[in-house]
């Protein structure tokens, strides 16, 4: 036993295998690192992905607690319109009503004199919420649908995936616009709920395909056979044994779904079908800003740039996660 030393390969082909184990200090025994720890380490090596992660966390935290701080410090909220008529105008960033320097409105105000920073942060809350909730909806539908189709296989699978193919080629954005325009809700919250339904119901298709593909390749493995042999029910096999094993690609795709849903939301809000005033999202703020871009460019630039930065970071994070969780793809 004394001679059995851990073999550390120096050949580049074994580099990955080597990284997967580490030596416990002094004992000479090797322990494997889990997939997740390994992926996390690879992610941290990717500078752009780390940058993305930091920006996403910062923007989320700031939009969550920022409005509270602003309210406590200055009393401004996203829908606070000043009583003084003189103040109901768009003021440039960091400028007071008399044109001198002031910290009161770091991003200026909009046409009704509302604090733009508070509105951009509210926009962040709503845009992120739309992105996350719609992605959750797409996760729930997509995973269940894909896993069931993949596991059951045969004619049912064929039928279910044909349906996905058909839905895939629909010009869904057109239908979403018609839906939102026709069922336009009287209340801003109602319209927001409608938006969740519309976005969630169209973004699950790719997720279903990915999960189905994973399940197809997993379902013939021994652990499924073992589960079946011990009498585990089909539902339990699908959701307790197969679904957890598809999480890698699902997480990657979910991270990339969030920015694309946010972009669609912004697009719909920009056209006036999405988030309704007094609520605001980055898309609706940009739509307001574009009206007076020549005179008050900050009304477009602040929400626009914040949104672009967030999407940029989310995309980099998603790409980094994909590289980290799937080393195979990094080689390509």
């Amino acid at each position: 036993m004394e001679d059995e030393r851990p073999i550390i390969h120096t050949d580049p082909e074994f580099a990955v295998a080597e990284a997967d184990v580490r030596v416990i200090e002094g004992s000479g025994t090797l322990i494997g690192t889990s997939l997740w720890r390994d992926a996390w380490r690879r992610l941290l090596k990717n500078k752009l992905a780390v940058f993305g992660l930091i920006v996403v966390i910062t923007i989320t935290v700031v939009s969550l607690i920022g409005p509270l701080i602003i309210k406590a410090a200055t009393g401004y909220t996203y829908d606070f319109i000043p009583n003084n008529v003189v103040l109901i105008k768009s003021m440039p960033p960091l400028t007071g009503p008399d044109g001198s320097f002031s910290w009161a409105h770091p991003m200026g105000t909009d046409n009704s004199g509302r604090d733009l920073l508070a509105r951009v942060l509210l926009g962040g809350r709503i845009s992120l919420m739309v992105g996350i909730i719609s992605t959750m909806v797409s996760l729930i539908i997509g995973i269940s649908y894909g896993a069931v189709a993949g596991y059951l296989g045969g004619r049912i699978d064929n039928l279910m995936m044909r349906l996905v193919d058909v839905l895939y080629s629909l010009p869904y954005i057109i239908l979403v616009i018609v839906l939102l325009a026709m069922f336009r809700s009287k209340t801003p919250v109602g319209q927001l709920v409608l938006l969740f339904i519309a976005l969630g119901s169209v973004s699950w298709l790719t997720m279903a395909r990915i999960v189905r593909g994973q399940v197809l390749s997993l379902k013939n493995q021994e652990f499924v056979l073992a589960a079946r042999a011990t009498g585990v029910s089909t539902t339990r096999i699908i959701f307790r044994h197969l679904v957890p094993n598809t999480l890698g690609p699902v997480i990657v795709y979910a991270t990339l779904t969030i920015p694309s849903v946010m972009l669609t939301e912004a697009f719909l809000s920009f056209l006036g079908f999405g988030v309704q005033p007094p609520l605001a999202s980055w898309g609706s703020l940009a739509a307001d800003g574009i009206q007076s871009i020549a005179i008050f460019p900050w009304q477009l630039i602040f929400p626009g740039v914040t949104m672009a930065l967030t999407l940029f970071s989310l995309n980099f994070l998603g790409d980094g996660l994909r590289d980290a969780l799937d080393p195979q793809m990094r080689k390509a």
Partner: protein
């Protein structure tokens, strides 16, 4: 091949009908209609209107009549734009959308494939990182932010180009809409080309081509590119759908009298014939283009058999 085409056509036609039916259903299921505006119409007038447009008949009769007209490509008259048939409106606005869309896609193809190939050839170089970061930026900047920023720069600061309005195809009014629409496709195509090229450049036939002493230029242009742009070809289908949403925004920003702008107006006005006409037209174009892309794919890649 022929069998595949016929089979696909047989699926495509019902799909177009499904899209139209869904749209019709959405319009009808929603509360209110074109006439339920702020202004109250006298009962008698409303009754006459309902009779004229057949709104007093049961829903299946109305549905049958609408579909009957649509199948014959007769979409009727717009409710909002009095005296104009939906067909004239489409015929008038389509060239605008098509010009912007096609020019944007061509520009994206040229720039995207060039940038993507160079990035793949010089993998991990500074050029590679810079162009891919720019591409990611292109994907992340919404076109309704990019468009106004370009206007701010080129029209309001430099006075080079008109900020909006349409003055026909070969004119300076085309430049900004095309650039705005093109940015995201450029970015996507550059990324796809890079990924495709990286894979192809490692393949055996490229090694063979190099081994037999071909010039690097020939290896890249004649051998590698052909395989490398396959992902770009398959992106054409989704790109068309994207192009659609893109043109809607760009037409709004630059006030172009295109299809997308009319569609948004029609949706806001609940102008049923116009909505149905444009949806039917878009669905047809999109699905037929998708079919063509699939056929083109089979021609380009001999390994694909349908």
């Amino acid at each position: 091949m022929l069998r595949f085409t016929i089979r696909r056509l047989l699926v495509t036609i019902p799909m177009i009908l499904v899209v139209i039916t869904l749209t019709w259903g959405l319009i009808r299921l929603a509360p209110g209609n074109f006439y339920s505006g702020e202004k109250k119409i006298p009962k008698a007038v409303e009754k006459n209107i309902r009779e004229k447009y057949g709104l007093n008949k049961p829903w299946y009769v109305q549905y049958g009549r609408t579909m009957g007209h649509i199948v014959r490509l007769d979409f009727g008259d717009s409710l909002k734009y009095q005296g104009q048939s939906v067909n004239t409106i489409i015929a008038r606005s389509l060239p605008v959308s098509a010009t912007v869309g096609i020019l944007a896609y061509l520009l994206a193809l040229i720039v995207g494939i060039t940038v993507g190939s160079i990035a793949a050839l010089k993998q991990n170089s500074r050029w590679d990182y810079t162009s891919m970061a720019l591409a990611m930026l292109g994907i992340s900047i919404p076109n309704f932010v990019l468009g106004p920023l370009l206007v701010l720069l080129f029209s309001l600061a430099l006075y080079w180009l008109p900020p909006s309005r349409w003055s026909g195809f070969p004119s300076r009014s085309v430049v900004l809409p095309v650039l705005t629409l093109s940015a995201i496709y450029m970015a996507y195509i550059a990324r796809l080309t890079r990924a495709g090229m990286l894979e192809v450049l490692r393949s055996d036939y490229i090694r063979t081509a190099r081994a037999k002493g071909l010039r690097e230029r020939d290896v890249v242009i004649r051998h590698a590119l052909r395989g490398g742009i396959m992902p770009v070809v398959s992106f054409t289908g989704p790109a068309l759908a994207f192009l659609l949403t893109g043109t809607v925004v760009v037409e709004r920003i630059f006030a172009l009298p295109g299809l997308g702008n009319y569609f948004i107006q029609a949706s806001l006005n609940r102008d049923e014939p116009l909505i149905l006409g444009i949806v039917a037209f878009i669905a047809m174009t999109l699905l037929i283009m998708n079919l063509l892309v699939d056929i083109a794919y089979a021609f380009l890649d001999p390994r694909i058999r349908y």
